[in-house]
């Protein structure tokens, strides 16, 4: 369990994690979280996000693009 998960509740908004997109395949992407974990995320809701962008991921779905690079894996 990483620090983020230790303090968060998956129902609550604050479980959302930042992740950097590494590759895109259709509506899904592979992204790396702050702890270096690679996850598959749905990117239906961030149509202008590309490889290298940071997104906020809530329950496997990117819900927003993050203006500044928030994390440094």
């Amino acid at each position: 369990m990483n620090d983020q998960q230790a303090r968060s509740c998956s129902v609550c908004a604050d479980a959302a994690e930042h992740a950097v997109i590494e590759s895109i395949a259709g509506s899904d992407a592979r992204a790396v979280t702050a702890t270096g974990e690679t996850v598959t995320i749905a990117i239906d809701l961030v149509p202008d996000a590309g490889v290298g962008d940071t997104v906020l991921v809530q329950q496997g779905v990117a819900i927003g693009r993050v203006p500044r690079r928030e994390i440094q894996p």
Partner: protein, 370 residues
């Protein structure tokens, strides 16, 4: 993790504490509500209240969706779970939330097929892998979690999945704030706004708080430096006699939020006329229902519910805690009948619940940055 360290720096926190002390008027009190459960958790975890002058009272708001869900809704969900052949899916944090006949985990022990999922998309996958069985997802959360449910329903429709159902308990943050501001016995001077909800809805929708009610709101990040800085920003507004919406979390939060996520919410959901909140009663237009166009996925329409629903236990004072009328430790059940091991109310279950946070971090040292 450079940014996390930067936003937990003890010296910066103490400098902000000094700044806050210099901004307060000793002749008055300040009641500042943090709306989001994530902020509540950080405040307890890092002992931030103890760094503030005595005349600043942080009121823990109704920002934990599990905590404000009335027991009756849990009962409805669990009644669905006990239907023959149905697979009930929910987030891990829901598993110990008590309904009147026990929690999802206890239903599982009685033989119901209860499965924990990380994402509603996982629940959809279970439905696709079990086409002969109905699969229900217990959807809950504010505007941050509702988009993932919306995407899942859109994908289910596109794939023509006929055995996937969503029990929709998504709620909206602003109607709850308005309801609190309209309560006669409730004095709130300012708000710390929810950082992640705003990623979706943006900062504009909070304008009514400043313009109609004259209260400052600062949308905040979740680290101790973020929260202390937001409190200083609120106090600066109050000192200047202004009330506006400010974005402390601009490093991660665009002012306009995410229009694509809002479009998905509009496509899939409509607002209910009213919805029951634990402790706050029925609040108009405060929750989502699934639109008619997606009714085939609406568990409330497609799955009959047998069984009774019950109101919250009378001795529990969850409502008073949620309204900020009492502190968690002042509830008559806190720490005796109600503990994280034997929760009576949901505020003791979720890590974002004010009671669980106060219980867990009762001995936290002042300004801890661990």
């Amino acid at each position: 993790m450079k940014y996390v360290d930067e936003f937990r720096d003890a010296r910066t926190i103490r400098r902000l504490a000094d700044e806050i002390a210099g901004l307060v008027d000793p002749g008055r009190t300040y009641r500042i509500m943090e709306i989001c459960g994530g902020h509540t958790h950080s405040i307890f975890r890092f002992g931030l209240s103890q760094l503030l002058p005595d005349n600043i009272d942080l009121i823990h708001g109704p920002g934990c969706p599990v905590c404000v869900l009335p027991m009756g809704r849990m009962d409805v969900g669990l009644a669905m779970a006990e239907q023959d052949g149905l697979i009930f899916t929910a987030f891990g944090d829901m598993m110990r939330v008590p309904g009147s006949t026990g929690s999802p985990l206890e239903s599982k022990a009685r033989g119901a097929d209860i499965r924990m999922v990380y994402s509603p998309l996982d629940a959809l996958k279970i439905a696709q892998e079990n086409p002969e069985r109905p699969v229900m997802f217990f959807a809950i959360g504010f505007e941050t979690t509702a988009p993932s449910t919306a995407v899942t329903i859109m994908r289910a429709k596109a794939a023509g999945v006929g055995n996937f159902f969503v029990f929709c308990n998504h709620i909206l943050v602003n109607p709850a704030i308005r309801a609190l501001l309209d309560m006669d016995d409730m004095r709130l001077d300012a708000f710390i706004g929810p950082g992640h909800v705003s990623t979706v809805i943006g900062c504009e929708p909070y304008r009514f708080i400043a313009e109609d009610y004259g209260r400052p709101i600062v949308v905040s990040g979740f680290e101790p430096v973020d929260i202390m800085q937001s409190i200083a920003m609120i106090l600066r507004q109050m000192k200047d006699g202004t009330a506006k919406v400010e974005n402390q979390y601009s490093r991660a939060l665009p002012w306009e939020g995410n229009p694509a996520a809002r479009a998905a919410l509009d496509l899939v959901f409509e607002t209910r006329d009213s919805f029951e909140w634990r402790g706050l009663g029925r609040i108009p237009h405060s929750a989502y229902a699934i639109r008619e166009e997606f009714a085939e996925f609406d568990a409330e329409k497609q799955i009959g519910v047998h069984g009774q629903t019950f109101p919250d236990p009378v001795e529990a004072q969850c409502g008073d805690v949620l309204k900020g009328a009492i502190k968690p430790r002042d509830c008559r059940l806190f720490g005796n009948a109600c503990t994280p091991e034997t929760p009576v109310g949901a505020l003791m279950v979720s890590s974002e619940g004010a009671c669980a946070a106060q219980y867990k971090y009762a001995d936290v040292t002042i300004g801890s940055t661990d």
